[in-house]
Structure formats: C-alpha cells, structure tokens
C-alpha cells in the first residue's frame, strides 16, 4: 500500500504522472533488490499493442475533420461553440487542460462513446493486461459503449439538456460529407469486418483524400494537427507503458488478492452483491478521477479495481462501462469544482446510466454477445 500512497502523493504534488510512476517503480525495485531493467522489459510490451497505434491515426483524422469544419480556427479544439465532441474525447482522455473545464452535457458524452472512444480502447487494453482471460472482445466493448451512449443522450435530452445536442448536430452538419467518410470505416469495425488499425488507416486515408481533392486544408495546418495529435498520443502511451510495469508490481505484491478477499467474503446474495460492488466501483472511480484525473486514475487504479470486480462476478463489459461513466463523472465534478459551479446535474446522466446498467446488466451486452 505504501507504493500506491507514494505514487499518488508524487502525482498530487505536481510531478508528471509518468515520472511519479517511474520514480516509484525504481524505488520499489531498489528496495526489494529487483533489477530495474525489468521495468523496461515491461515497458517494451507496449509495442505489442497494435490496437494502440490506431489512436494517433484516429486523432489526426478527427482533428482534420474538425479543422475543415472550423477553417477559421484550425487546431483550436472548440472555436466559439466549445470543443467538438471528437476532439474533446481525445483531449479528455489525454489530459490536456481545458475541454473538461468548458464542456459538459450528455450529447457530448454520447459522441464520446459513439465515435469509438479512444478511452474504451485504453480500458480494453488495460483489461487485456490485468485479466486477459476475462477481457471482452474490443468489438463487444464498442457495441456496449454505443448503447450506453444512446442511454446517456436520451436521459440528457429528457432532463432538458437538448441545447447541447442541437449544438453538436449543427457542428456535425457543417461537414457531413467528411463525417460520413469517417463513419464508413467505423461501420466496418462495429460490424466486426475490419480490425481497428486497418479501419483507422482507412478513415485517415479517406479524410486526407477528401481534403486533397477539395483543397480544403494546407500542408502546414495538416502537419501542425498531426503533431498536436501525436503529442496527445505520446502522453497517453508513455503513461500506459509505465502502467504496464506498475501492473506487474501490483500483481507481484499480491495487493489485488488482498482487496478481493476483503471485498467478497461477507457479501449477501449475488444480486445485491452485484449492486454493491457496482456502486462501490463507481464511487471509487469517481473519487479517483476527481482526485487524480481520469487517465492516471485508470492506470493506477486498474490493477486493483478491475480484477477485483471481475472476480466478484460482474461482467467485463459492465465493468468497462461503469468505469468509463464514473471516470467521466469524476472529471466533470473536478471541472465543476474548479469553475465554482458544483451542480449535481453533472452527475445525473452518468449516475442514472450506471444505475440502469446495474439494474439491467444484460443491457451492457446487448449486441456484444
């Protein structure tokens, strides 16, 4: 537990999260006499994750679409209408400041999930690492995410938050052709016909060809957007790479098993156990995202929370959705706290969706199975 406290403290005082993880891992290896080259051995495994390579291609394609939709402010995530949902989804996950502080609303969140959220890809990769046998297929996860997105959008509109949906629609309406070009490859991913990397390559190629044919974008802007997307990807991948070594450390310490024993020994019937563990999982993720921000919270908390929830009987797709929704809610609370607007409405949509998923767990696996 001391190592968890150490990494959280180092991060909270302002050290970059990758440096906090690196220093903790080196301190741990020195204290138990492990060779620190094992850290690099774990880090190198990130190169095996080919799905991760889809993220820079997707981010660049989405940034290009955004730049064509808002030619007056290329590279600006939001312009006057606030961040476009796709750019925002990348930025929310990748820790750049701003988007979560200015954007909220169920429609944005719907798009966050719908556009094959990179966050779902990261959660899936984490699952593959911490519990390969229990990990769902990526396609299952994306399909489940789609349903959660629709739920969130419907609840959001019902709560009178439709203005944001209108804003999103008007944003999409500016460049419907480019958007359709981007969505066509996703149809291949969702239907299970194309692997993610190939589909991301297709999406990027189509957007690039479209921009070239219509001369809607100059090379300088395209390269600037590429670099911006890559910087975001670099931050994510560096953290995830050291996260792999962190996962190995947690399993080495056996902390995950201690959590498990403490959690599931005295639980009541399976139905209530699912409810209790689901709510507990949601609360811990909200707190962690509020305290640490979503991505570090996910990397640091995953080796404890995901296997513990999985072994308690919750379905992997359900856990993934609760994780995503709760991280989002925690981030929104953090943004609200900074802006001085501590409105409970920010928690309503993800909160209701979590409750809905817990009440009807099969919903989470609607098409995935």
């Amino acid at each position: 537990m001391i190592w968890l406290v150490l990494v959280v403290c180092l991060g909270l005082v302002g050290l970059p999260w990758f440096a906090a993880l690196g220093l903790t891992l080196i301190a741990y290896s020195a204290s138990v006499g492990l060779d620190p080259l094992l850290i690099m051995q774990e880090f190198g495994r990130i190169a095996e994750m080919q799905e991760l390579l889809a993220i820079p291609l997707l981010l660049w394609a989405l940034a290009l679409v955004q730049a064509q939709a808002n030619p007056a402010a290329p590279g600006d995530a939001g312009g006057k209408e606030g961040p476009a949902a796709w750019t925002w989804s990348g930025k929310w996950m990748l820790q750049t400041p701003g988007p979560s502080a200015t954007a909220s609303g169920s429609a944005d969140f719907a798009a966050l999930l719908f556009l094959s959220s990179p966050a779902l890809i990261v959660i899936w990769l984490v699952f593959q690492t911490v519990s390969p046998s229990g990990a769902p297929l990526l396609q299952q996860l994306l399909l489940s995410g789609l349903l959660a997105a629709f739920c969130a959008a419907v609840i959001g509109v019902a709560l009178g938050n439709g203005a944001r949906l209108g804003m999103l629609r008007s944003g999409l309406g500016r460049q419907p052709r480019v958007l359709w070009l981007l969505l066509v490859p996703f149809a291949g991913v969702y239907s299970g016909h194309w692997p993610l990397l190939e589909a991301a390559g297709m999406a990027l190629a189509m957007v690039l060809i479209d921009a070239l044919v219509r001369r809607g974008l100059d090379v300088g802007t395209a390269v600037a957007l590429l670099l911006e997307s890559l910087r975001a990807f670099g931050r994510l991948a560096l953290l995830l790479g050291l996260g792999l070594a962190w996962f190995a450390l947690v399993f080495d310490l056996g902390v995950e098993r201690q959590w498990l024993n403490a959690l599931i020994v005295h639980l009541p019937s399976p139905f209530w156990a699912n409810w209790l563990i689901g709510l507990w999982l949601s609360a811990v993720w909200i707190l962690a995202a509020w305290l640490l921000r979503p991505l570090p919270a996910l990397i640091i908390g995953a080796p404890w929370l995901l296997p513990a929830s999985l072994h308690s009987g919750l379905a992997a797709t359900l856990i993934s959705l609760i994780t995503l929704l709760s991280l989002y809610a925690g981030d929104q609370l953090r943004a609200a706290g900074r802006g001085g607007d501590l409105s409970a409405r920010r928690l309503v949509v993800p909160g209701l969706t979590v409750l809905l998923l817990l009440a009807m767990p099969d919903v989470a696996r609607w098409l995935g199975d």
Partner: protein, 162 residues
C-alpha cells in the same frame, strides 16, 4: 565557449535541431503506419495472408512513434512552462518538480540502456545488434532527450530565482 550562457545557448541550438529531426521522423512514421494499415486492409480484403514482417515493422514503428511523440510532448510542456510567469513560491516548486522529473527520466534511461546491453532472456548477451535491439533503441535514447529537456527547464527556473 567558456561561460554558462554559451553552453546553454549551444544546448538550446542542439535541441532545436533535434526537434526538427523528431518532426521529420514522426511524419515519416505516421505515413508509413498509414501505408502499413492500408496494405494490411487490402491484403485482408483479397484474402491474402499478412506477412510476418508487417508485425515486426509495426512493433518497431510503435516504439519509435511512442517515444518520439512523448519527447515532443515533453518539449511542448517545457516551452509552455517557460512562457508562463511564475511567482517566487511557484518557482521553487517548478524547480524541484522539473528536477525530479528529469531524474526519473535519467533513471529510466539507465534501466533501458541496461536492458539493451544485458537482456535477461538472452543470458546477458546484448540485445543491441539483434532485430529486437533496433526497435528497442529509442527507449534509452529518448528517455535521455526527455531527461535533458526537463533538466534544462529546471536550470531555467533556477536562473529565474531571485
């Protein structure tokens, strides 16, 4: 070059050159990745098997892409903190934290270097020179670059101390 400022100017100049190199390699890598993705898609579409060399290339490209992107992100972070005015108490924090982050990078660099030189699975034979060694090469190299950038940032902060 005898005084400190000349050294720092030379350091900054070398960093600018290296950043240009990073951008060139990154653009080439992403275009290469795009070609590989499209090639694999086409092969799958016609039902042909994807050659094993494709996986090896992706593995190598992935690590170079990740580390170069991280180094670019690190450079951007340092630029932003240089441009930001800081008060006295913040200066101490930034100095300490930049130094700690630089230390983390340099320690990771040394671990990566040892990994390249003494891989455990190969019975202490060096990985450098094997095909795996080439795709692992960016690990020590770019952790060193990030460490130096963060060190430069802490030197900047130290200079700004009243």
């Amino acid at each position: 070059m005898t005084d400190g400022s000349s050294w720092l100017a030379a350091w900054d100049h070398a960093d600018r050159q290296w950043r240009r190199f990073e951008v060139l390699v990154l653009v080439a890598l992403v275009l290469g990745l795009l070609l590989v993705a499209l090639g694999r898609w086409m092969l799958a579409a016609v039902g042909a098997p994807v050659p094993a060399i494709g996986d090896e290339l992706l593995r190598a490209g992935a690590l170079w892409l990740i580390m170069l992107s991280a180094a670019q992100a690190c450079a951007q972070c340092c630029d932003e903190s240089r441009a930001k005015p800081l008060n006295r108490s913040h200066l101490r924090w930034v100095l300490g934290l930049s130094f700690a982050a630089a230390l983390a990078c340099l320690l990771l660099m040394s671990a990566a270097l040892r990994y390249l030189l003494f891989d455990l699975h190969l019975g202490s034979r060096p990985l450098l020179g094997t095909s795996m060694g080439w795709w692992l090469l960016p690990l020590p190299l770019l952790f060193l670059v990030m460490g130096l950038r963060l060190l430069r940032r802490s030197l900047d902060t130290a200079e700004a101390q009243p």
